[in-house]
């Protein structure tokens, strides 16, 4: 028994040291981190890339846009990621962090659009909402319904309270938590856009910019908005169980579950593939990937991976990414970004 234990210990030490020395060598696969929204698309490209090229399949971690940026900007060595996916543009603060840590040249590639849908169960009637109504339903503070300039805590309990034409159902919206990029985009595209339309809030913009932002971006916390976690499949299941509630998530989940749920029209436009691609449906956001230029040539396959991602068979109208729910960019835009990616043109954030 004693011998057995000693052998075990020796073997484990051997493995540990052998691995540690190996780890110091380079990396022969691409390492990608970032947004969970871009994850399904970049994994599809990675798999295709791995199977059709002589390179290894890239490794992709789903860390969220912010987490990905943080890892991406820690430095320029092989132990840092080569590419980060983002469901929003890189912030200037993130770019500064990158610069400070020696990541000087970053290539930005816009890969397409993602629609954010407000959906409910097929068993209920289709909702037709405006962004203004969504703001009134979800903001923490709204202009007083009695008129006047005063802001009051959100008094609306049912959709009918907001607009007589809407059903007499309790306001109950399942959506992503604040850590999610989908939530950021929803707040920006729906709440920010519509809240400036209210006279009383607009006045606030001039007098107190900070307060203005807080009013526009704070989601109510009295139970009408339910944070359902990052798992969009879970939201779909909950919508099925409770036909009176609405859910907020990415277009691909609506696309896959069209027999169970339906997208609500926002500002008169239904969230269909065509409407999002043409820009008629307003709640959509661009998706990006950011590449560390210093790693191209150091890690094998990065240029080829970019070429695969920006090829028409991937991100084109009939490409395999459209199949997965990515909304392609117009042809001209694709051409520009494909050229930029090929030339590895570093991005300059304004």
């Amino acid at each position: 028994m004693q011998k057995f234990g000693l052998t075990l210990a020796a073997a484990s030490m051997l493995i540990a040291t052998a691995s540690a020395t190996q780890a110091a060598d380079g990396r022969d696969y691409i390492s990608i981190v970032g947004s969970s929204t871009v994850y399904p698309f970049s994994t599809t490209v990675a798999e295709q890339f791995g199977k059709t090229s002589k390179f290894k399949t890239p490794k992709i971690e789903s860390t969220g846009t912010g987490g990905g940026m943080k890892l991406f900007c820690t430095g320029a060595g092989v132990d840092t990621p080569d590419i980060t996916n983002a469901s929003r543009r890189m912030k200037t603060s993130e770019m500064e962090a990158c610069q400070k840590n020696g990541v000087t040249e970053v290539v930005e590639v816009k890969v397409g659009y993602d629609g954010i849908v407000v959906a409910n169960s097929k068993k209920a009637e289709t909702m037709n909402l405006s962004r203004k109504e969504l703001f009134l339903a979800l903001a923490k503070q709204v202009p007083s319904p009695e008129g006047g300039d005063k802001l009051v805590a959100n008094p609306y309990k049912t959709w009918k309270d907001i607009n007589k034409a809407l059903p007499d159902n309790k306001i109950e919206v399942l959506g992503p938590p604040p850590t999610s990029g989908t939530r950021d985009a929803f707040v920006e595209l729906v709440m920010d856009e519509s809240c400036a339309e209210f006279e009383s809030i607009k006045a606030l913009k001039k007098s107190d910019e900070k307060q203005f932002k807080a009013v526009c971006q704070t989601v109510r916390e009295d139970g009408a908005y339910i944070e359902a976690g990052e798992n969009d499949n879970l939201i779909v299941q909950k919508l099925e169980a409770n036909p009176k509630s609405l859910g907020i998530f990415g277009f691909s989940f609506l696309d896959q579950n069209a027999d169970k749920i339906q997208g609500s029209a926002v500002d008169g436009q239904t969230p269909t593939f065509e409407n999002i691609a043409s820009g008629k449906y307003v709640v959509s956001r661009p998706l990006f990937i950011y590449v560390k230029k210093a790693h191209v040539g150091m890690i094998p396959g990065i240029a080829e991976y970019l070429a695969e991602f920006t090829s028409d068979r991937a991100w084109g109208e009939n490409g395999y990414l459209a199949e997965k729910g990515l909304i392609p960019m117009p042809k001209e835009e694709r051409k520009t970004f494909a050229a930029d990616a090929k030339a590895l043109k570093p991005v300059v954030l304004k």
Binding site: Q2, Q22, K56, K59, N233
Partner: protein, 424 residues
Amino acid sequence: MSKEQKISTMDRVNVGLARRYRRERRFRLFGLAAIAASLLFLVLLLVSIVVKGHTAFRQTEILLDIHFDPAVLDVNNLATANYAALVRDAVLVFFPQVEDRQDKRIAAKLVSTGAAYQLQDMVMNKPELIGSTKPVWVLADDEVDMFVKGHIPRDVPETERRVSDKQMAWIDQLAATGRLKQKFNTTFFQAGDSREPELAGIRGAVMGSMFTLIVTLLLSFPIGVAAAVYLEEFAPKNRWTDLIEVNINNLAAIPSIVFGLLGLAVFLNFMNLPRSASLVGGLVLTLMTLPTIIIASRASLKSVPPSIREAALGVGASKMQTISHHVLPLAIPGMMTGAIIGMARALGETAPLLMIGMVAFIVDVPQGFNDPATVLPVQIYLWADSPERAFVERTSAAIMVLLFLLLAMNAAAVFLRNKFERRW
């Protein structure tokens, strides 16, 4: 006087007897109800997983007559030949009525993109196939598979399902001519992760789990046993050993994510070990399971009666001989049980692995301790988050595999205990 009192005592007992019996029956009933309730939940859980997941073990395949066209397959350039075209031509043979280019594209999509890779493998291994025509079973697309299994309903309007009326007619035609069959899903056990549900498998995750557990076992068992032996047999009883003991018990109860953060700081940032490697996963899980193993090992050392030690010392054995010849062999079964239960817990862990990058999309099956890897519970988590419907059943199937492994490990623990443990 005394007689009267005796009778009255008996009377009092008799009066209360029925109530006491009732109370005892109630007490037993509560216990029974508690067991029934927990069994009910367990059965509900298992049934819902099995009902959702059992279909994943079968996969729809389509029989194609592939003509290995020499015009497409250039012997000198087999790696880049257009295998998808071979598949497409073979599919379109069934539907001569299809003329439209768009329709042809849709028809070709009945077959998984994996079919092209399958043909590539066949031709690369056996170039003499070129020029011949052979019947080949290829994987169907995940949506066809879902439709055949009834997960995509037939009776809803066309716009609401992922399979159009045209595709439905084609699938029915294939099924009627015996060209469509459900077979045992070998891909599920042989492939790594994939974005195409029909090509996705658990092999990569199982191998990752295995590598991780090997590292965990090789490190935590010897260290844990050595620590337990020292603390139990050699260490003096003083404030320091008390402090250590309290800390070990405390560590056993710490949420596992904390070990992940520690691993991130020490193994990745300080020691510069590779991200996402099963080696680092094993190190982190070692930290997590060590307290469990130390506690179990100490308990089993304690259960060896002092008379054994005294007898050994009495016939002149040294302290070390006493321990290595007598105490340890008797305590080892209990230690192993503790280790296996610790390993089972490590097998089901995801939270600490999140911090060290093992929650990732990894297609290639890991070949060693340094390759990027993921583990079974992480694979389940990633699939549960995927939009494609076919991943729902695969999620449940992966859970079934995980449960089976856990069951096997716990059964091994019980077996070891029954076979080797000595009762005193």
